[in-house]
């Protein structure tokens, strides 16, 4: 709890690196909280927008003394952004009510701790990737740039680049399975 308050103090003063560490620690939980919206709005855009809003509000944010205060605020912010996006694509009041009930049933969102064993296993599998999928995945990981730019950087057409990213992910999942790791089970809420 003390560490959380100290981290919030850093973020409040405009420490982007501290914000990045906090955001990395809650990303998985925050994204998971948006699962009910997956078919109704682009949750990647919602998540990024919510994090940017949290950053803007952080200097005025007051910790309520309970654990995961900023994460709880981020979850509410993300859901509000998601509902706004849903209304733009003409969702019915019934759909919105159903989602509210689903979210109530979800309960509190808790941060997930990083798994060092999974990290090592993924790194080992990446080393075994065939060259083309490895290059494509590497480009995606290095920077979140436009896919046309990333494809050109590894001298692939856009479609070939996208197909190679898909192949890389499939290869990693199969490699992890051979090592006895089911990525979906590891990431289950």
């Amino acid at each position: 709890m003390q560490a959380e308050v100290a981290q919030l103090a850093q973020i409040s003063t405009g420490d982007a690196a501290a914000f990045g560490r906090w955001a990395s620690s809650v990303e998985s939980s925050l994204r998971g909280s948006l699962r009910p919206f997956a078919a109704r709005c682009d949750t990647e855009a919602v998540l990024q927008e919510a994090l940017l809003r949290v950053w803007q509000v952080a200097p005025r944010f007051v910790h309520d003394g309970k654990p995961n205060a900023l994460l709880r605020f981020a979850v509410i912010t993300a859901r509000n952004v998601a509902f706004t996006e849903m209304r733009k694509v003409s969702s019915t009041p019934t759909e919105i009510d159903q989602l509210h009930r689903q979210l109530e049933a979800q309960g509190d969102v808790q941060p997930r701790l990083p798994d060092p064993h999974l990290r090592v296993a993924i790194a080992k599998c990446r080393e075994k990737l065939p060259p083309q999928p490895g290059m494509a995945l590497g480009a995606r990981i290095d920077r979140p740039d436009d896919d046309h730019v990333l494809a050109a950087s590894v001298r692939m057409s856009l479609n070939t680049f996208l197909q190679n990213v898909t192949r890389a992910r499939k290869f990693l999942a199969e490699c992890l399975k051979k090592a006895g790791i089911d990525l979906d089970l590891e990431l289950a809420p």
Partner: protein
């Protein structure tokens, strides 16, 4: 899923998002071209992809976090 849908899905899995003129993060155009099943599949693939990215990045940052931090700087 058809090859065309797979290409759409892969674009949606990217963390690259444009912004509106007033600075709000926009949905990916490819997301609108997917049906409900495709959108849910894109969500699941994104969860996997970001876990892989966090694991492979020295600072533990996924492309989502890199995209957000790039907006702050």
């Amino acid at each position: 899923m058809t090859p065309e849908e797979l290409l759409l899905l892969e674009q949606v899995v990217s963390a690259r998002r444009e912004r509106t003129v007033d600075g709000v993060v926009k949905s990916h155009p490819a997301w609108h071209d997917l049906d409900a099943a495709g959108r849910t599949a894109a969500f699941d693939e994104t969860v996997r992809q970001r876990a892989v990215e966090r694991s492979l990045d020295p600072a533990g940052e996924s492309s989502t976090i890199k995209a957000v931090l790039a907006r702050l700087r």
